[in-house]
Subunit: 86 residues, 6 copies
């Protein structure tokens, strides 16, 4: 009876949340051999600002083409540059 | 920066937990379009007895061939029979 | 100092959430013998869609007479029928 | 589909944990009108030291007669005395 | 890779949430010796009513001067008086 | 009534966990203006392997001088090198 919780930023479409839920559920079934009907899951949504990663507030989700997360992409790029210059 | 938590029963091998973690992480990346390095995950383990599903304690995990979960299979079977007889 | 968290669907009245909180708190006191003042609790609310049970999104809460949850009743009925036909 | 989590200190008997789980499950059913089979619950156990209440580590659970929690009783008494003297 | 979650009442300013996040992150770094970039944190917000402390619903957050929490102050005062009269 | 949860790897001393708890509690008091006695906290411990950061299992905690976390330091170093070579 695995219980999965997923804290993500506000703004994903129902389609994205559904894909997320199905992917997570399927991953649990494949890895643990448990029955599909025994997987329970809740997705909690909060503003990007409420997520803090290594001391940096995460920007709000900005939907790009094909569900691409433009804001996060930008932040990862910045982090890589900062890391490279350390 | 999705944060995934996964509460499961004690007893999965490192290989199973690794497969679980990778499957969950990959599911998040595919559904949200976020970067792999922005997915954080913790697997918490407790005895089966500490999981209660619809008023029934879940039996402890019993590993079968190919990672099959024998105990849960038995419980699901019981639940289906009970439901059919309602 | 038990800490209880309760993830439920949006839409319960204050009266229902209060009854829920008191019932949970009382259950902890009775079972653990701890002091009432040592029980802490948070109720988190999310849309029904964000709850996924065995691969099915849970319908949003639809209040019926006497606080009855019409949507969930419907889903349980469907699940029992599906199970019986397996 | 309410999901209940309960973080408590190590050391409760199976009987106590079962009573706790049933009481919590029943409280959810009564307050929300949802079906018993839709309530999922996990009890997580950690040492008392890992619980911190208002800046004080909670003492480990010490079982007394009738499941009474001797250690917590002592702490509550101390807190009341401290508060009265403020 | 510590993961911190913080459930608070709705209504704090971005400045307060930022100060909270930075303080928590820094506390983890100092106590555990882990790297700043390995601390992940999510702040979840719910109405005060959804927090229940020793059987009492917590009042909604009322901002006072200098970020003082007027509502909670009132509740603590009431609790101390009640305790003193026990 | 903020509720803080902290998921960390097994192996910190009581002194480290105490410093962690006090630092977190103090950070909440300073940022939110709430009363010290209204901050509740639980530290959950799991093996390093159960933490997965960007698809990598976190190594178990290896205590170095002054509470330094040798294992995590190594992993951060590896991540920086990998990132620089991307």
């Amino acid at each position: 009876m695995p219980i999965i919780t997923c804290d993500i930023r506000n703004g994903r479409t129902r389609e994205q949340r559904s894909q997320l839920a199905m992917g997570l559920t399927q991953a649990v079934v494949e890895a643990t051999g448990c029955d599909l009907h025994d997987v329970f899951l809740v997705i909690r949504e909060m503003p990007g600002f409420n997520f803090v990663d290594g001391g940096d507030h995460v920007p709000d989700y900005v939907p790009g083409p094909n569900g691409l997360d433009l804001a996060a992409q930008e932040q990862v790029k910045t982090r890589i540059e900062r890391t490279s210059n350390d």
